[in-house]
């Protein structure tokens, strides 16, 4: 899944891209090796944060940046191992986890995990409070589904307890305990903060703690001397919120950053030649990218028309154009390395079949719109789709939207624009459990995030059953079937899983999940 290249040495993106493309001289300059040496000086790791933090409460966090920072501030119950090709997990705050049966999971916490302030040691009572807090409907946590099957947590000792589930719950060990919903915090601290908090955690327990936060400028973390679960190499981590990856690339090349995720369009360039001394790594993210079709729209109501569009699009060509050879075509929405990853597509590029289906449906001179965001990838993909569909007699008008408008196009609560929505390019992020991919396509998500308005009883049942199915093989078969049903409906053209490129400076060993997620506290010198 990963590939490493080590060398010896207004949209935001559009703004920078246009500047970079503005003259050959500038491009020539970029072709020269960077003179600035990148190093982690003074025990400080300087890394890019995709956006500033907005909420560090495990029950209410909002962005990937929040989750990235929370990983350094709190001792997670379990953690993902870095540097492996799979999403392997191991206990962290938990000393051991024993599956007594499908609904009773015994756990023991490591003794001596200290909270900041006067909140003492982490106990099983804290685990009970934290996990039940997220599950409790009264608390309105958006992450209640992570503990959907939690009945209660039984405390059996200072450090021991049992998670009692109403039903088996497969994501418990993939996207609950190793993720934010597994974080354990003391009741006293949360109550002292008024029940919830945003950017000023009342308590921390992880390898780092906040030394200084200047909103939208920098977040400086310092090593927590009380943290004993593993050794950290850097005394401080300085996180700079830089939303535009091109800016981050320039910052990295100038030596202002030690680690940064690159833009997708730069992946081929860095793969061919990383800045001197730097390590470039390439990953396949869990983010899945597809073209959706609104089956409730009159022009697309006939399944044969949607099928014709499926046959009219070469996924290989679209992915090549959008990701410049840095990604592979997908056959579903569940990324490689996860249960449910699908190997084969059912409806492939076949323009003759597409024309025949349109003729059979009695459709001629079909005109549709394709809604996209203002990104280089979306535009490139849309233009290829436009050209290919023109070949089968379908005229595509590309409608570019800024992100705020785009994300409300198919939401019923935001107006009637969903009725006019036809084709759209979509990308969703997810956690390393297949349930995160399929949950958006159920009947109850129609008009929320299910913009295809796909509704299938078998899909919904499988989606509910797969979460409580503990046999990996059966679970795999269920998720593959769900992706078949989705494709069978004609509502989607699976495109790819987005590539991720990262740059790491000389003298630093990164610690990455298989999807390119950096585990900053595990970064090492040398």
């Amino acid at each position: 899944m990963t590939k490493t290249a080590t060398m010896s040495s207004f949209t935001r993106r559009g703004l920078l891209g246009a500047g970079l493309a503005a003259g050959a001289a500038g491009l020539a300059l970029r072709g020269l090796p960077a003179l600035a040496e990148v190093s982690a000086e003074g025990g400080t790791l300087r890394a890019r944060l995709y956006a500033d933090i907005s909420n560090l409460d495990p029950a209410y966090w909002t962005s990937a940046s929040d989750a990235l920072v929370m990983e350094t501030l709190y001792a997670y119950a379990m953690e993902f191992e870095a540097g492996t090709g799979a999403f392997d997990v191991r206990p962290l705050a938990l000393k051991s986890v024993t599956v007594r049966d499908d609904t009773h999971i015994d756990f023991e916490l490591n003794a001596g995990i200290l909270y900041s302030g006067d909140y003492g040691e982490m106990t099983a009572e804290d685990a009970k409070f934290s996990w039940e807090r997220i599950a409790d409907p009264a608390n309105d946590s958006p992450y209640a589904a992570d503990w959907a099957q939690l009945d209660h947590v039984e405390v059996t000792g200072t450090h021991t307890g049992t998670i009692v589930l109403k039903k088996p719950f497969a994501p418990l060990f993939t996207s609950t305990l190793p993720a934010t919903s597994g974080i354990i915090l003391p009741r006293a601290a949360i109550e002292a903060a008024g029940g919830r908090f945003t950017t000023s955690p009342p308590v921390t327990s992880g390898p780092y703690r906040i030394r200084d936060w200047q909103p939208r400028t920098r977040l400086v973390l310092e090593r927590n001397p009380d943290f004993k679960l593993f050794e950290v190499d850097f005394e401080t981590i300085e996180l700079l919120p830089i939303e535009d990856p091109k800016t981050a690339e320039l910052g990295f090349e100038a030596g202002d950053l030690d680690h940064a995720q690159t833009s997708i369009s730069s992946i081929p360039r860095y793969a061919a030649s990383a800045p001197r001394g730097a390590t470039f790594e390439e990953f396949t993210a869990l983010n899945y990218y597809w073209m959706g079709m609104n089956e409730a729209n009159e022009a697309l109501a006939d399944q044969r028309v949607r099928r014709a569009i499926q046959h009219g699009i070469s996924r290989e060509a679209v992915v090549e154009a959008a990701y410049l050879g840095a990604a592979q075509p997908a056959a579903g929405i569940i990324a490689p390395g996860l249960i449910g990853n699908r190997a084969e597509n059912t409806y492939n590029y076949d323009p003759d079949a597409a024309r025949a289906l349109l003729a059979e449906a009695g459709v001629a001179d079909l005109q549709v719109s394709l809604a996209i965001q203002q990104t280089a990838e979306d535009l490139a993909a849309a233009q290829i789709i436009q050209a290919m569909l023109a070949d089968i007699g379908v005229t595509v008008r590309i409608d570019q939207h800024e992100s705020g408008s785009f994300w409300s196009l198919g939401v019923e609560a935001d107006g009637d624009s969903w009725k006019d929505l036809q084709l759209f390019l979509f990308s969703f992020a997810m956690q390393p459990d297949p349930s995160w991919a399929t949950m958006w396509f159920t009947g109850d998500q129609v008009g929320v995030w299910n913009w295809q308005r796909f509704s299938n009883a078998e899909f919904d049942q499988l989606n509910a059953d797969a979460v409580v199915e503990m046999d990996p093989e059966k679970r795999h078969a269920m998720y593959v079937r769900m992706q078949e049903l989705l494709e069978e409906s004609g509502d989607v053209v699976y495109l790819t899983y987005e590539p991720v490129g990262t740059l790491t400076g000389a003298g630093i060993a990164s610690a990455m999940r298989p999807d390119g997620w950096p585990i900053l506290a595990r970064f090492k010198r040398g």
Binding site: A36, D244, E402, L409
Partner: protein, 314 residues
């Protein structure tokens, strides 16, 4: 003079209120709000609606506007819809970096711009004048963000003289990191100011009082700086007053390209996220700042030019 200031302040308040009302209407004319961003994709519709109600976004626009005006009178600009931080606190945390940037860009623009304009006017038709004229148009024609990229590529990456991103810590570091963004933002204004001042000076130099001064045998240098520049600088001051407003807008690109914090980028991101309280709060403060600078520019002109002062007094 006081009544003039009072009239201008009243006008400024009307301008600010109109701008805020227009912002509300425009923002509500486009789809989307910050609630889904604040709560994340997994929030239920019930949670979304409850949060919307808490922010008052379920109310008609006119109710929201009136409530907002009421809150302003109490000195309350509301809370960031995503993080819950007070808006004033968010803006004040970003404002200094933008003000430093604008001050830096002004410095880059004004000092060379005025000198080039004066020398070009006094050496009209010379090689210097022609070269300055060509260079002025050239730097005005190149988009500022292109200049920014080239500055980064040459002076940060190629030569390593300046940091590429961030606003820095401590005075020296802050100034070091301010150099490239200030040049990127101010460079085009050098040519602009030089050309305006040159044209204005040539006009004044042809006036009777200048000829009279020459007839009295006053030195050319004194005539230029005491008699000509004092009058010719007036349109430049007006342009600079307006220019600060444009620089606030232009700061967006500098803040993005150079990875700097600032109100430009703050409002840009807030619009994308439909973070209305931040947008309106920032527009309120930047509009107020712009109106204040325009007023100061007008007062400065009145101070420098007795003719204007007399008109105002009447």
């Amino acid at each position: 003079m006081l009544s003039y200031i009072a009239r201008r302040v009243t006008l400024a308040i009307i301008v600010i209120l109109t701008v805020i009302a227009a912002m509300f209407v425009m923002m509500h004319a486009v789809p989307g709000d910050a609630v889904r961003t604040a709560l994340g994709p997994r929030a239920s519709e019930a949670m979304v609606e409850a949060y919307r109600a808490r922010l008052g976004l379920d109310q008609p626009v006119w109710v929201q506007i009136l409530r907002y005006f009421g809150a302003i009178l109490r000195g309350d600009l509301g809370q960031d819809a995503i993080s819950g931080t007070p808006v004033l606190q968010v803006i004040l945390s970003q404002l200094p970096d933008t003000l430093y940037l604008i001050a830096g860009a002004m410095l880059v623009a004004v000092i060379p711009g005025i000198h080039l304009g004066v020398v070009s006017a006094t050496h009209r038709g010379s090689l210097f004048d022609r070269v300055t004229s060509v260079l002025s148009v050239s730097v005005m024609a190149v988009p500022s963000f292109v200049i920014a990229i080239y500055l980064l590529l040459i002076f940060s990456i190629r030569l390593g003289w300046f940091p590429a991103i961030g606003s820095g810590d401590g005075l020296a570091d802050k100034l070091h990191r301010l150099v490239l963004p200030s040049i990127a933002l101010g460079l085009a204004w050098i040519g602009y100011l030089a050309r305006i001042l040159r044209a204005s000076m040539l006009e004044v130099m042809a006036e009777n009082h200048v000829r009279t001064a020459r007839a009295f045998g006053i030195s050319q240098r004194r005539i230029m700086y005491d008699y000509v520049l004092r009058i010719a600088i007036l349109p430049t001051i007006t342009v600079l007053g307006m220019g600060i407003g444009q620089m606030i807008s232009g700061a967006v690109f500098a803040e993005i390209v150079f990875g700097r914090p600032g109100v430009g980028k703050l409002v840009y991101d807030a619009i994308a996220n439909r973070n209305y309280p931040i947008v309106t709060g920032t527009v309120l403060l930047t509009t107020g700042f712009f109106v204040l600078v325009s007023l100061l520019a007008d007062l400065l002109i009145a101070f420098l030019d007795p003719r204007v002062r007399n008109v105002i007094s009447r």
